[in-house]
């Protein structure tokens, strides 16, 4: 049995774990320092499955190749894994006549990369595709294969499927060192003990440079590039397609889109941070203003600011050189870097996973033997709001908890929360958090942002995990929702 340790349970690590779970001669361990999966880079991004036309194959061959392949694979994966998605296509909009030159370039590049069905549309067709656009728009590049998914729901789905196929998960497990002997990897030292491994895959996102340095490879660094976003109430009308401005040399630009839950979303800008600011997820006035101004150019009818329900920031891991770093490192046998997975990382993830499987066979000389039985399918969590009244009634008869609405904005039932808890236990989530419930059910993410339902979710988590309610966390240790019972301070206790 060959032991494989994957560091990082984000979209990349999870996808690799799923693909490797197919082989009977591999014992796959997926390691993450966070209490749940998908809580790093994967958590906050534009949630797009890109087309693959904007990565220059001469400058960024990995990105160009894997994005197009990833897009195609997602079309299959979302079905097998029942990941919430929409294939609504994208428009790269020309606001000036000069922009058409850039669109021609993109079209040419897309053809070279193998993107199907792209074409430049004129004004008339453009407004047929997207009536709400800035009336000044002159035309656009139309990429029908672009889609959107829920990025964390995707990670969760992939991990659930990987675990069902035998992958072992180690959460709250921080990698402290990597043991290398005679030029070969031997395993991973963690705060939860030593995990033996013959193959170590570094999919550590923003921290991939630090993990790489643990084996003495310091030829690249990762710096965070921050992007900020606004999300609006679902009563605000948004576009039907994903709208991009014509790109500039440094950025794909600020996107205007209706994300899969039906909320208008705008963002991101791009602000480069120094390498040490890998935890800086704060939103800023300046950043949000920049996004607002950018989005307004494509979508002039932005809602009043009071219609915002959330702003957030995400970090892309920008590597030295700009291209994905995906390779078996010759100096340390068994160590594979999967680093610098910046945009289009979400799109590329499934393709990256197959690439890694190929590297294991080709460069490490490990022959992979397919399991006789491997389960490609995973069922999504029940989504009450999507059921017909007949289906809902059948479910409620079996279990009345599905008839009890907890999150009023998104119509999430107690049954779904309990189901999410079971699923968390299945993949080994130990610290019950409200965000873990949110990412599985959408509870707390609606118009009121949880001010009604958070309290009730706390009760359900407290009961299921048998911990006092104030010890339930928002997002893992240190984010407890309270400091004790109401008399804790008066009794002179110094809890927290």
């Amino acid at each position: 049995m060959i032991k494989v340790a994957i560091i990082g349970a984000g979209i990349t690590g999870a996808s690799i774990a799923r693909v490797l779970s197919r082989y009977e001669n591999l014992e796959v361990h997926l390691i993450d320092k966070n209490p749940d999966v998908g809580w790093g880079v994967s958590k906050a991004n534009t949630a797009l499955i890109h087309g693959g036309y904007d990565d220059d194959p001469d400058k960024y061959p990995m990105r160009a190749k894997l994005c197009v392949r990833g897009n195609r694979l997602w079309h299959r994966w979302v079905k097998e894994l029942e990941i919430p998605h929409i294939w609504n296509g994208a428009l790269v909009v020309a606001l000036e006549e000069e922009d058409f030159d850039e669109l021609e370039k993109l079209l040419e590049r897309g053809i070279r990369n193998g993107v199907p069905e792209m074409r430049i549309v004129d004004r008339e067709e453009l407004f047929h595709l997207e009536p709400g656009l800035n009336p000044e728009a002159k035309g656009a590049l139309w990429i029908p294969t672009v889609g959107q998914i829920g990025p964390i729901p995707a990670v969760i789905a992939i991990v659930e499927n990987a675990v069902a196929n035998g992958v072992k998960i180690h959460l709250n497990t921080k990698v402290k060192g990597i043991k290398v002997q005679n030029g070969e990897v031997k395993g991973v030292e963690t705060n939860n003990g030593f995990i033996e491994a013959d193959v170590i895959i570094n999919a550590a996102g923003l921290y991939a440079d630090e993990i790489s340095r643990m084996v003495g490879l310091d030829y690249f660094t990762i710096h965070p590039r921050k992007g900020e976003y606004w999300i609006f109430d679902d009563t605000v009308p948004g576009p039907r397609r994903v709208l991009f401005p014509t790109p500039t040399p440094i950025s794909k630009g600020i996107v205007v889109t209706t994300e899969i839950s039906g909320h208008l979303m705008i963002g991101p800008n791009a602000q480069d941070l120094p390498p040490e600011e890998k935890e800086n997820l704060a939103t800023t006035r300046e950043g949000l203003e920049e996004v607002w101004e950018g989005a307004k150019k494509l979508w002039p009818n932005l809602p009043p600011r009071s219609k915002v329900i959330r702003t957030f920031a995400g970090l892309r891991p920008e590597p030295t050189g700009g291209d994905f770093i995906i390779k078996a490192e010759e100096e340390v046998f068994g160590f594979i870097n999967v680093a610098g997975i910046r945009s289009p990382g979400l799109t590329s993830a499934p393709a990256i996973a197959y690439e890694v499987a190929e590297i294991i066979q080709r460069d490490l000389g490990i022959k992979l033997i397919e399991k006789e039985k491997w389960n490609p399918y995973r069922k999504d969590i029940t989504r009450f709001s999507m059921l017909s009244p007949e289906e809902a009634n059948r479910l409620i008869r079996e279990n009345p908890a599905y008839g009890k609405i907890v999150c009023r904005c998104n119509l999430v039932t107690e049954g779904e929360i309990l189901e999410a808890i079971e699923r968390m236990k299945f993949i080994g989530v130990k610290i019950p958090s409200i965000d873990s419930i949110k990412f599985r059910t959408k509870a707390t993410s609606g118009t009121c942002q949880g001010s009604f339902c958070r309290v009730r979710i706390i009760q359900l988590l407290s009961k299921a995990y048998n911990v006092p309610p104030w010890e339930i966390t928002l997002k893992g240790e240190g984010s407890e929702i309270g400091i004790g019972d109401v008399k804790a301070l008066l009794r002179g206790e110094n809890s927290a």
């Binding site: 704060a282 600011r305 104030w470 301070l489």
Partner: protein
């Protein structure tokens, strides 16, 4: 066959219960639906006194007030844990309400609906706070529920945004639990709460910053500090006036917004000033047979008014059923004049006496409240945005107007 009712009341808070009790007294067949496990709406978490001086003629706590109303519900069919997911307006005299409960998804028919689903609180994102999205940020009502329904103390060093009643009451609540309430931050140049609640700040020695706002939160996992900035008379931030307050908890008490999504879905006209529906003097919305009461109509400061609105709506439902609609030969529009921010009801028939609820734009002392078209004047020592004006206009007064009645608040010379 669908079960059918004269009135379906949506919401089991004081407005809904007040409506259901009155409708039952008027001999109507009533179904009361509430999505909580218990009746009372927000009252059960309001453990402070100050409720019921008008309605019960004595001072009660929220749970006591709710308990008294619940005891008057005999004869009303009540469903709790029942969330209404759709209202259908089939015809003026036939409506359908679909709700989800542990008994299943159920649809009932009804002649009228009284919508009393309350309000929600504005949250940190809506008021433009940026920074880290960490634990320790709660709306005031949520913190109140945590403490007074579930016994959870959210934190120890507290900053409160908003000097409205809810914010002030929470300031006292935290202080009573031994927390350090470091500041109440108010955007406006005047406090937002009732005078009796402003005493809390003196009683507990809590600093109030008028013309200030919280703009940013920083922390790794939990709130560690909040950034406050001073604003000028146009609410613009004054550069260089920023300062930080260390705190582990930020409470947002920045106002309420009527819950009207279900009504909007069937095309009920909304008044941007109140955030609730446009109504006539029976509190009937622009969809005939659908009435609204309580904080879904407009944000109230006294529970007694909320119950009163429920009762008015119930009388409307009775009249609607008896006459096949709320009849009026002509509607007289109530128009906002000088220094009036919002007013409801919006249309008056002149066929009955009506309670008018209104709020002013800014506080002024020594004023006259005028309705020029009907020659009515009331002298008041002071008006404040925080204190809702409630004035009775008599039918015969209303009838003096032809098309409209303006309500204005004028400073006395």
């Amino acid at each position: 066959m669908l079960e059918s009712y004269d009135v379906v009341v949506i919401g089991g808070g004081p407005a809904g219960m007040g409506a259901a009790i009155k409708a039952k007294e008027l001999g109507l067949k009533v179904l009361l639906l509430d999505d909580n496990d218990f009746l009372g709406g927000i009252l059960p978490q309001c453990i402070h006194p100050g409720f019921g001086l008008h309605y019960f003629k004595e001072e009660l706590t929220g749970p006591e007030f709710a308990y008294r109303l619940i005891n008057k519900l005999d004869g009303v069919e009540v469903k709790t844990s029942a969330r209404v997911i759709e209202i259908q307006n089939y015809s003026d005299l036939e409506k359908f309400v679909t709700y989800v409960s542990p008994e299943g998804v159920k649809k009932v028919a009804t002649k009228t609906i009284i919508y009393a689903a309350g309000a929600r609180e504005r949250h940190a994102f809506e008021i433009g706070i940026v920074g880290d999205r960490v634990a320790g940020i709660y709306t005031a009502g949520e913190a109140q529920a945590l403490m007074d329904l579930y016994g959870i103390l959210p934190g120890r060093d507290i900053v409160i945004v908003g000097s409205g009643d809810v914010g002030l009451i929470m300031a006292r609540r935290f202080a009573l639990e031994g927390c350090n309430v470091k500041a109440v931050i108010e955007l406006m140049p005047y406090p937002g709460g009732l005078a009796r609640n402003l005493m809390i700040l003196k009683d507990f020695n809590i600093p109030l910053y008028l013309s200030h706002k919280v703009v940013e939160v920083r922390g790794r996992k939990r709130v560690e500090k909040v950034k406050v900035v001073k604003v000028d008379e146009n609410l613009r931030e004054i550069p260089g006036s920023e300062f930080w307050i260390e705190a582990d908890t930020l409470i947002i008490s920045a106002g309420l917004i009527p819950n009207v999504k279900l009504l909007q879905e069937i095309g009920v006209r909304i008044d941007p000033a109140t955030g609730g529906p446009v109504v006539n003097d029976r509190l009937e919305t622009s969809v005939p047979g659908i009435f609204v009461a309580g904080n879904s109509l407009l944000i109230n400061d006294l529970v007694d008014y909320v119950v009163e609105q429920g009762e008015t709506a119930a009388e409307g439902a009775k009249e609607f059923i008896e006459n096949g609609g709320i009849k009026s030969t002509r509607w007289i529009k109530l128009v906002k004049g000088e220094n009036v921010r919002l007013v409801a009801p919006h249309y008056l028939s002149g066929e009955r006496d009506v309670w008018i609820y209104a709020r002013v734009q800014r506080p002024i002392e020594d004023v006259t409240l005028e309705f020029p078209e009907i020659g009515k004047k009331l002298r008041l020592p002071v008006v404040k945005p925080s204190e809702m004006l409630r004035i009775k206009l008599r039918g015969e007064e209303i009838r003096k107007a032809k098309e409209k009645i303006t309500m204005q608040v004028v400073k006395n010379e």
